[in-house]
Symmetry: C2
DNA sequence: CTTTTGGTTCTGAATTAAAAGAACTAAAAT
DNA sequence: ATTTTAGTTCTTTTAATTCAGAACCAAAAG
């Protein structure tokens, strides 16, 4: 059972509200937030369960999907039976990238729609073409932004 | 009642599955998709209700939230009592921008977390700083990307 | 003024999602 | 060999969404 200051509890609260709004299940959101604020960055299954006062089953499934989604890594320490769970901060970047790509993949459908539309509605079709062009543009630009970031990071590590 | 080809029905299906996965309620998703594929781009309440075979209450609440979220606009034609509903394609761009900004606003919370963290966990804190720096970077870059797009559009309209 | 139209709002009912609880399992410890 | 540990998986319960159906309402038409 991890002792948390009032501040830390508040942040867990705020952070998980935020993530839940974005579509994440509450237990997952609270685990992620706990792993961000906790003084120890590697917590056991039971520490998480006790601290968040949640059932084993809920913690188990939440942790498994978090590990699957590369949001959390599970660490085993030789000679210690328990697994330790740690927030995968390092993957934030690439998770963000994946998320954006998924958002932009709607463009495929928009192109299908354009192909099927009547040619009568010129203005509407032009607006649709603009949206498609915009998303295509974003896709290209975002790749460049990510590349720029990676280069900048490499420099700093010299 | 709008007549739809098989193709159009399929796209409504695919598109709404996509949007529902992203967290949108089914009726809203189907209305949006219908307004994208339909040959007529402005449909009445009852055309929507009949075509999607849905209850008045469901259509009413869905349309109202869609209008509220600037996804659909409602048009009134003088001398016609009915309202016509039309997909707000033009707002796609700014809706996307708002969505991204909201995503990036998580950074405020991450900064709070960093401020509250113990200084013992140097590596973790450094990773957290990197994430924060990354999001700050994205924020700046995205503004530029949007500006670039807008300029490019202005040019084309000359 | 009464009726019709074009919706809205207010219950439920049905579905879905999330969490709890309990039974289970594999590995490790005794 | 039995028990404990660390967690998983299955079933049930609870809670939240979503939709339908009916009553309702305001503006326009007759």
């Amino acid at each position: 059972m991890i002792e948390l200051k009032a501040e830390q509890l508040e942040i867990i609260q705020k952070m998980s509200v935020f993530q839940v709004r974005a579509g994440m299940p509450p237990t997952e959101a609270r685990i992620l937030a706990l792993l961000l604020v906790s003084d120890r960055t590697e917590l056991t299954f039971d520490e998480i369960r006790e601290t968040l006062n949640t059932s084993k089953s809920a913690v188990s499934t939440a942790l498994n999907t978090l590990v699957l989604r590369n949001k959390v890594e599970s660490i085993t320490i030789p000679g210690d039976r328990k697994r330790y769970f740690k927030h995968q901060l390092k993957n934030w970047n690439s998770n963000a990238k994946d998320g954006l790509e998924k958002l932009l993949s709607v463009n495929q459908l928009l192109k299908e729609i354009l192909a099927v539309r009547t040619s009568e509605t010129e203005d509407f079709n032009q607006d649709l073409k603009n949206v498609i062009a915009f998303i295509d543009f974003m896709q290209v630009e975002l790749v460049q932004v990510f590349e720029k970031w990676n280069k900048q990071q490499q420099k700093e590590n010299n």
